[in-house]
Each structure stands twice: as structure tokens, then as C-alpha cells.
Amino acid sequence: MVGIAVTLDKQQQLEAYRRMLRIRQFEEAGIKLFKAGKIPGAYHASIGQEAAIVGACMALRSDDYITGTHRSHGHPIGKGAQLDGLMAELMGKVTGICKGRGGSMHLADSSVGILGESAIVGGGIPIAAGAAMSAKVRGSGQVSLTFFGDGASNQGTFHETLNMASIWKLPVIFFCENNQYAVSTSVQESHGQPDIAKRAAGYGMPGEIVDGQDIVAVYKTTCAAVERARRGEGPTLVEAKTYRFDEHSVGLNVGSEPYRSSSEVQMYIQHRDPVVLYRRVLLEDSFSETEIVAVEKEVTDTVAKAITFAEQSPFPQLVEVYQDMYVNPINYPATPREFRP
């Protein structure tokens, strides 16, 4: 990928670090709250994948669209969402971004361009392409980026949508967060060859592999894909090789036969932590320790404030359960009477 000189300016570098750190600290706090029983359901943490998420989002305009996955906390934070509504949603509160209807797997914030976080694997891929089609019809100049995992690349929606996006040269970026395991199934066990990006060739579009632990590399690669899309030249498949540090979901019992070795996990945590790596880059660049610590303190405060907001917020009432089923609720709700608002 040549010809595009893209660099983050000083302010953007700090913003990128801020967003990565927000994801990391939001998730660390969330895991504690989940274990303490304050967050119900299942908790899929994005820890380890921050550079892939933020690097991709920093390449987008605020009005560009994204769709995401069941591992949904990082995407809105990466796209610039406020944390209060996200944390309140995790706790099932009425002030949550989805009013307590979506929860951990569905942290979609439309104010930053998110069109849903699909917990049906691969479900968001055609939706993002549809948004790209819409941008093309409306001539809005927007692009659309869909985050999906290595597991989703084996769904029919991946193949069908890449084909259609290529036929119609849609302004869409297919962004694979390849964290190497679909729950407990490795890419080796589930893919005919290990590089998902190579599948792009079959659909007549560029496929790029990038180090998903290196935010600068992810940003540059995504920028090139975004520019290509905005020029009307069509889609790109980007595969960021990354790693999730926690289990598929927090506390998941993986059985007696481990699907990945603890030495592999430790290698990533100790040597390939994207937040640590970027902090080092910033220090080697032009940033002082004081500047970085200031961002870190600000993020810690923001996360603490979000937790307080969420904890102090009320739960939704049962009489609200029918709200937002329809925009135009003709004869609805019909039954049962006892739940009518």
C-alpha cells in the first residue's frame, strides 16, 4: 500500500492513546463489577485488541458508520462515545445507551455512527455494506466500516457481502479483528489457510494484513482503505492480527484441555500489549512522561465518574417494556393487559 502519507498529529496521538486507555480501564473496571455481580449476563472484554479498534476508528470521520460484534465495548469507545451511557447499559440501567435493552453484547451508540453491535456472528457485515450503499445513493461522501472476527469470516454473510460490495464498488471497509480464536476454535482448525486477507483476492478487492497490536500501522492501513473507498474505488479487506488477553467471555469454563497455551497468552500480555507499546512510542516520539500521566489520570477519573453515574441510575420499569418496539405502534401493545403502560 503506497502513495498515502498519513500520520497522526500530536493532538490525535494523545486522543488515540486516550481512547485505547479508556477501553482498557473501562474493561478492567467492568470485569470487577461483573465479578461483583453488578453487571448481569456475559462479559466479553476487548482487552488486547485496543490498537486494532482505535487505529481503525481514528481513520474515520465522526459521521462515518461502523457496525460491530458481541465484543462490543471497545467499538463505541474507539469511535469516541461517552462512557456514562455505556457503563449504565452494562448494568441494565434506564440511563444506558440502549435503555437497558441491549447490554454487554450490544453497546451501540448512534451518536458516533454505530449501526448496531451484532451478537449474531457476521450479522453486522451486510448492514455496514447497506449503509455504504446508502451513502453512495445519497452522495454523502460517508464510508462504512464493519468490525468482525476471524470466526465471522466463515459465515455466508462475509462472502456474500464482499462479493456485492466489490460488484458495486461500495465505500466499505471490511475490518477483521483476527484475535486467532473463535471462542475456543483456532484459525488453524477452522480456516483453509490462515490469512483471512487473502480471501479478498477471490472477490476482486485489496486485502491487507496489519499488525493489530501496532496502532500506527493499523491507522495507516485503514486510512488507505478509507481513502480508496471515498474515491469511489470500492471496498478493502483489512485483517488486523491481534489477540484477546482474557477468555472469550470472563469466567468462561474452557474445560480441562486448554485451546491455547498459557505461555502464548503470557507472551502477548508481557510483550505485545498494545497500550504499553503505544505508550513507549509516544515517549520515544515527542511526549513527556508528565503529558502521558495527565491523560492516564483523566481517563481514570472519567471511568470512575461513569461507574458512579451507572450505579446511581435507576433500573427501567416494567411498564416501559413495550417502548421502542415500533416507531409507529399501530394497535400495539395488544396483549397482555397487565403489562400495558
Partner: protein, 330 residues
């Protein structure tokens, strides 16, 4: 006969059910540039006229990828367009059902009202013509059980035009189940582009006092023939066409049952949990005191539609079976 529709003050044109589908789409695409049409082999399946009238940005001829082009329709609907997704044969709805049920129907609710999905998903129930089980399904009951969707099943050219236009203008996802039993029949249709038939309103297609017959979609054809024959025999049948299955116009059905005290339900979908079952349960729950006789239900048995005409034809309710059912309640 559209008692629940607004009065048309304009001129009328005689057109077929199929022509009404095409005309509704053309009028809405002319009225609102956000309306687009997507689907497979549109020219062959009746939408050639739409294809010719609008450019490639408005009409998207898709590859055979039902689930994903349906998902693209959902994404386009969420971002400012109003797509009509044409899925041709109704059994293909199963391929698209993940995007229809898990995304289109759920996204508004799951995002706490942040999104809306103003999309129309059209399909045609093509049965009774020896195309065997994989092309002959009447799958609306399955989608009635998926909240967040609206489901319409118009039975006349006028209702089709008016309801399809309402569906395109509605801000929620609407499924349109067309019935090939009506394709050829012509009827007088209002020319006024603002003539709409409201979603959620049933229509009394044949007024009567002795027995209520509620017939779903294609079953309306035999129900009307039965009502006409029974009239000659001095039996007054009220035929109610729900037209919309979600939301169901319970009031209209119950009002008729209150008058007649007798109810026959005719539904060409398979018997278990079909639209007739839902209506029977509703009437039993909410209007039991009006019933003078047990509810009779004529449905297609829980069997696949066979290829051979001698096996297929007897599976669906006929004029004779409806006449017999009505008489059994008197």
C-alpha cells in the same frame, strides 16, 4: 368493497394484482427519492417496468445472496433510505430470515429506540401450481411470531396498491406476503397516488349475519365463492379479510363474531400455530361469550406440498369445504 379504506374521489383503472404491485412501487419511488428496490432477476419476476423507469442507483439487481442483500436493505434503511427488498418466492424468506428477524425486527428495540428500519420485504406465495415443497410455502405464521415486524397479506389489487404504499411509507419493517392465487384477477383501483389502505385495518369483504368467515390471504378466493353460493341458499355469511396479520385488527373480527355467534377460519398455511390458530385463540379468550357454536378451523394439514396435482389440490380449503363448514355450524 373497501369499507375500511378512505373514499376515492379520483378516477379508477382496471388492473391486476401484479400490476398494482408495480404501480405502487413506481408511485412511491416517484414521490420519494429515498425509496429504492433491490432483488434478484427483477425483470423476470414482474418488476421490469420499475427497472426501466429508474436508474441503477434506485434499482439494484442483486446476486443470489438473499440473507446479505436483505441485510444490506436493513443497513440502507437505517441510514436514510427506504428500501423495498424483493425476495421473490416466499420460501426464500427463510434464507433472509436471520437479517429480518435478528436485525430488522430487533434493532430498534435493542438500541433503545436509537435506530429505525423503514424497509419493506416482499415475497410471493406461489403454491397450487406443482412446484413442490421448496417453492410452495405460506410462511407468514413464522414471522407473526417474531415481534418487531409488521405483516401484511393483501388479497385484491386495490388493497395491494394501498397497503404496499402504506408499507413503504411506514417507519417500521413491513413484510408483504403476496399470493399468486390473485395474480391474474383484475379489479378497479383508485388512481390517486395518495390513496392509501391503512396497516392494521381488516375489511369486511362480504357483509352477512349468520356466520363469520375469516379467511387469510389466498383462502379469501374460496371464501368469497362459498359466501356467494351460500347466499343463493339463503345463508348469510360475513367474510372478513384481515389484510394485515400483524398488527391484527381484533376489533373488526370480534365485532363480526358478536353479530353472528359463529366463526369459521380459513388459512392456507399449515395448521399448527398458523394465523387461524392465533385468531381462534384470541376469539376464545376475548369473545367466548358471543360464540354459539365451537370455532371451526380449515387449514392445510401439517404436510409438505407434493408435486403431483392430484395430491396437492385437495390439501387446500375449497369452496365446497367452506360451504360444508359453515353449514355444520347452523
Amino acid at each position: 368493497m373497501n369499507t375500511a379504506a378512505p373514499k376515492c374521489v379520483n378516477t379508477h383503472t382496471r388492473m391486476s394484482y401484479m400490476e398494482a404491485i408495480v404501480q405502487a412501487q413506481i408511485e412511491e419511488m416517484q414521490r420519494d427519492e429515498r425509496v429504492i428496490l433491490m432483488g434478484e432477476d427483477l425483470e423476470i419476476y414482474g418488476d421490469g417496468k420499475v427497472l426501466k423507469a429508474f436508474g441503477s442507483h434506485r434499482v439494484w439487481s442483486t446476486p443470489i445472496s438473499e440473507n446479505s442483500f436483505t441485510g444490506m436493505g436493513v443497513g440502507a434503511a437505517m441510514t436514510g433510505l427506504r428500501p423495498i427488498v424483493a425476495l421473490s418466492i416466499a420460501s426464500f424468506m427463510y434464507l433472509a430470515s436471520d437479517q429480518i428477524i435478528n436485525q430488522a425486527g430487533k434493532l430498534r428495540y435493542m438500541t433503545g429506540g436509537q435506530m429505525k428500519v423503514p424497509a419493506v420485504f416482499r415475497c410471493s406465495m406461489y403454491y397450487g401450481g406443482s412446484v413442490a415443497a421448496q417453492h410452495s410455502d405460506r410462511p407468514y405464521p413464522m414471522f407473526m411470531n417474531a415481534p418487531g415486524l409488521k405483516v401484511i397479506a393483501p388479497t385484491t389489487p386495490a388493497d395491494m396498491k394501498g397497503l404496499l404504499k402504506s408499507a413503504i411509507r411506514d417507519d417500521d419493517p413491513v413484510l408483504v406476503f403476496e399470493d399468486s392465487a390473485f395474480w391474474a384477477g383484475k379489479d378497479s383501483v383508485c388512481d390517486d397516488p395518495e390513496y392509501l389502505v391503512p396497516i392494521g385495518k381488516a375489511d369486511v369483504k362480504h357483509a352477512g349475519t349468520d356466520v363469520t368467515v375469516v379467511a387469510i390471504s389466498g383462502a379469501m378466493k374460496a371464501a368469497m365463492s362459498a359466501a356467494n353460493e351460500l347466499k343463493l341458499q339463503g345463508i348469510s355469511v360475513e367474510v372478513v379479510d384481515p389484510r394485515t396479520l400483524v398488527p391484527l385488527d381484533k376489533d373488526c373480527i370480534i365485532e363480526s363474531v358478536a353479530k353472528t355467534g359463529r366463526l369459521v377460519l380459513v388459512d392456507n398455511a399449515n395448521r399448527t400455530c398458523n394465523a387461524a390458530a392465533e385468531i381462534a385463540a384470541t376469539v376464545a379468550e376475548e369473545a367466548f361469550d358471543y360464540l354459539r357454536k365451537p370455532i371451526r378451523r380449515l387449514s392445510t394439514p401439517d404436510v409438505h406440498i407434493p408435486f403431483s396435482p392430484t395430491l396437492e389440490k385437495p390439501l387446500f380449503a375449497s369452496k365446497d369445504s367452506i360451504v360444508a363448514a359453515v353449514k355444520s355450524l347452523l
